[in-house]
């Protein structure tokens, strides 16, 4: 990838800044060759890869080195985009929002600083991956569990900072204390960590005064250098209930049944239901089923379901905890289902520690079209109400059919809200199809907005569109975020444009791709 300079910088100024970074952290950790830039492109780019092209990367190895980098970035006005492991596939990978930004790759800071089995937490640096933590727990026989996203290749910190999730729930809810640097380099610990020698940093979220952790999540006000994260003690027992629902409309009664149970704690985490499509995209190629350029028709849907023996909607429900409680909760769940269907649900009893480790297996779904593939997710949050969920599904599927793309949807229910993740798969080398993806995405944002639903997270290319849709009182919240941004980051050097928050220095870049 050829160099794209940060807006407003000459090549000489850029080179001077890179030389200053090299003096501060060692030249081997300043990565600015064409090949280096290539390694920070968005692998799944739904548009042009150079819409989000980094000018290079710097990789400090300690808090002090990050501080030194921030100082230099302010001096030379070089925008930096922090990342932990950069496996944010579907949302931008290791790429920045604005081309010319330099990646602040925190991957070298990868120590597991503490794991406390008794109190159920860990303290980690940004570079720690899910695989690293899994290995650490297993090799030391530590009876703790962690939520692992479908793509397990990423980092615990980056994932939580994106508000990533798994069936265990929203991972950002487990953050309990952070160590961060402001864009101007002040080191801060949040919550109880704000006290020198504070003993409850990883135990109590808020400390004294305003609680800052969620200001860091999906923001661009800080660089995170340490994260305390709650983990769950290993369960005594678990029960897996296989849910296979035959008709698309079954999602209505299913939602009405599980929502109150989740609200009352009979179920926990996210109760999820996924459409049939997901079973085919990983192990097979689309052309084995259908050659048309339109959305997969219903007779093919039936064939897929028959071959994999799956429902229209599928999802295991996992009950876990003490075995007597699990059995009682299972009865409540099955009684609830019995009010709507005569169907039998397969029940499997498992050891509490029978949990799956991280995997990258689902990544192969991007091979659906056979060549270089990608995906983006459109994921609005809505009420966990059966009628509304069914309508949302029907409206969304109609849009997929209208734009000739294969529908793949999941609803994650937490008892109050449902997050509706719609997976849009495409062939990166099919420009016409990618244009349809763009049109679908814009239509989905509009549809959801009309219903009063908004996305929980989005790809770099759609951050401004989604931020626009949060428009109460003329986007008053975004204006507040940008006032904060300007106060904390006067030169606008940290992650300009993340989640639609643009600093004064680069505000003219809003909406530009």
């Amino acid at each position: 990838m050829k160099l794209i300079l940060p807006p407003g910088l000459t090549k000489t100024q850029f080179d001077q800044a890179m030389a200053a970074f090299a003096r501060a952290i060692g030249k081997e950790w300043v990565l600015a060759t064409d090949e280096d830039r290539e390694t920070y492109l968005d692998q799944y780019a739904p548009g042009r890869e150079d819409s989000h092209a980094a000018a290079g990367a710097i990789a400090p190895g300690s808090v002090e080195e990050v501080q030194a980098c921030l100082k230099i970035a302010n001096e030379y006005r070089v925008p930096l985009w922090p990342m932990s492991r950069g496996k944010n596939f579907g949302y931008g990978g290791a790429a920045p929002r604005m081309s010319g930004t330099v990646m602040l790759d925190m991957g070298r800071m990868n120590r597991i600083l503490e794991v406390n089995a008794k109190a159920g937490y860990c303290i980690v640096e940004p570079g720690v991956g899910f695989f690293d933590m899994w290995e650490y727990l297993r090799s030391r026989k530590i009876p703790l569990q962690m939520g692992i996203p479908g793509n397990g290749w990423g980092s615990i910190v980056g994932n939580a900072l994106e508000r990533g999730f798994s069936p265990a729930g929203d991972h950002s809810n487990n953050i309990c204390g952070l160590e961060v640097l402001t864009p101007t380099g002040e080191l801060i610990r949040t919550g109880m960590g704000a006290m020198e020698g504070g003993k409850a940093w990883a135990l109590f979220k808020h400390g004294f005064g305003p609680s800052w952790d969620q200001m860091v999540v999906q923001g661009n006000f800080f660089v995170v250098t340490k994260m305390c994260l709650w983990m769950k003690p290993e369960d005594e027992a678990a029960i897996s209930v296989e849910v296979k629902l035959d008709k698309p409309a079954d999602i209505g009664w299913f939602t009405e049944t599980v929502t109150p149970l989740r609200l009352r704690g009979v179920l926990d985490g996210y109760v999820r239901l996924t459409s049939f499509q997901a079973t085919a995209t990983v192990p097979t190629l689309r052309k084995e089923w259908y050659q048309g350029r339109d959305s997969i028709p219903d007779d093919v849907v039936t064939k897929i379901r028959e071959r994999f023996n799956v429902g229209w909607w599928n999802g295991p429900i996992r009950l876990s905890g003490y075995s007597d409680v699990c059995e009682a909760n299972l009865k409540r769940l099955l009684d609830g289902f019995a009010k709507h269907t005569k169907q039998e649900f397969k029940v499997t009893r498992l050891a509490g520690n029978a949990v799956s480790g991280p995997t990258t297996y689902p990544l192969q779904m991007v091979n659906w079209f056979g060549g270089r593939g990608g995906h983006i997710g459109y994921s609005p949050v809505m009420p966990a109400d059966g009628k509304l969920v069914l309508e949302q599904f029907e409206r969304t599927r109609r849009r997929f059919i209208e734009f000739g793309l294969d529908y793949s949807g999941t609803f994650y229910n937490d008892g109050r809200s449902a997050t509706n993740v719609n997976l849009i798969l495409y062939d990166k080398d099919d420009a016409e199809q990618k244009e349809r993806v763009r049109k679908l995405f814009v239509a989905l944002i509009k549809d959801a907005k009309e219903q009063g639903y908004g996305e929980y997270r989005t790809h770099l290319s759609y951050m401004d569109d989604v931020a626009d849709s949060y428009d109460f009182n003329h986007n008053a919240l975004r204006k507040l975020n940008e006032r904060m941004k300007d106060a904390l980051d006067p030169n606008g050097i940290l992650a300009p444009g993340r989640n639609g928050i643009w600093p004064k220095a680069f505000r003219d870049q809003r909406g530009k791709l």
């Binding site: 081997e28 950790w29 990565l31 090949e35 280096d36 290539e38 390694t39 920070y40 492109l41 692998q43 990367a57 990789a59 492991r85 950069g86 496996k87 596939f89 990978g93 290791a94 790759d105 991957g107 070298r108 695989f131 397990g152 290749w153 192990p283 190629l285 991280p358 995997t359 990258t360 297996y361 689902p362 990544l363 192969q364 991007v366 091979n367 060549g371 270089r372 593939g373």
Partner: protein
């Protein structure tokens, strides 16, 4: 004195040649071991049995070529290029994730002569 110098030169040359010959036959064991560790740490989540990379390679090249650690046809430049530039659906790996010394070791490991497969 002259004879002694000559002997030393011959000894030095002989050991240099035998060193070179050995390097061609068997790559540095420590380097290969480091490469295996790098593979385990950075590649194995996709490129061992059951992994995404193995699966997609089997689809593209057939099962016999799907496990990288068993391949005998990998060329050093090819390995390097695929790691840094990606291939089809394989994401690119940066110098932070796989620093150059680990890359050298990985290349040595993946291109080292393999013991014949046991039937």
């Amino acid at each position: 004195m002259r004879a002694r110098t000559l002997v030393l030169v011959v000894v030095a040359l002989a050991s240099a040649f035998s060193g070179a010959a050995m390097a061609a036959a068997a790559p540095d064991a420590a380097l290969v071991a480091r490469g295996k560790a790098a593979f385990t740490h950075r590649c194995s989540m996709c490129h061992r049995d059951g992994g995404t990379g193995t699966f997609i390679l089997a689809r593209r090249l057939g099962a016999a070529k799907s496990l990288l650690e068993q391949r005998t046809d990998l060329d050093p430049t090819y390995v390097r290029t695929v790691v840094r530039w990606g291939l089809v659906n394989m994401p690119r790996i940066s110098r932070v994730e796989l620093p150059e010394p680990d890359m050298d070791a990985l290349v040595a490991y993946l291109t080292a002569p393999k013991a014949p497969a046991t039937p």
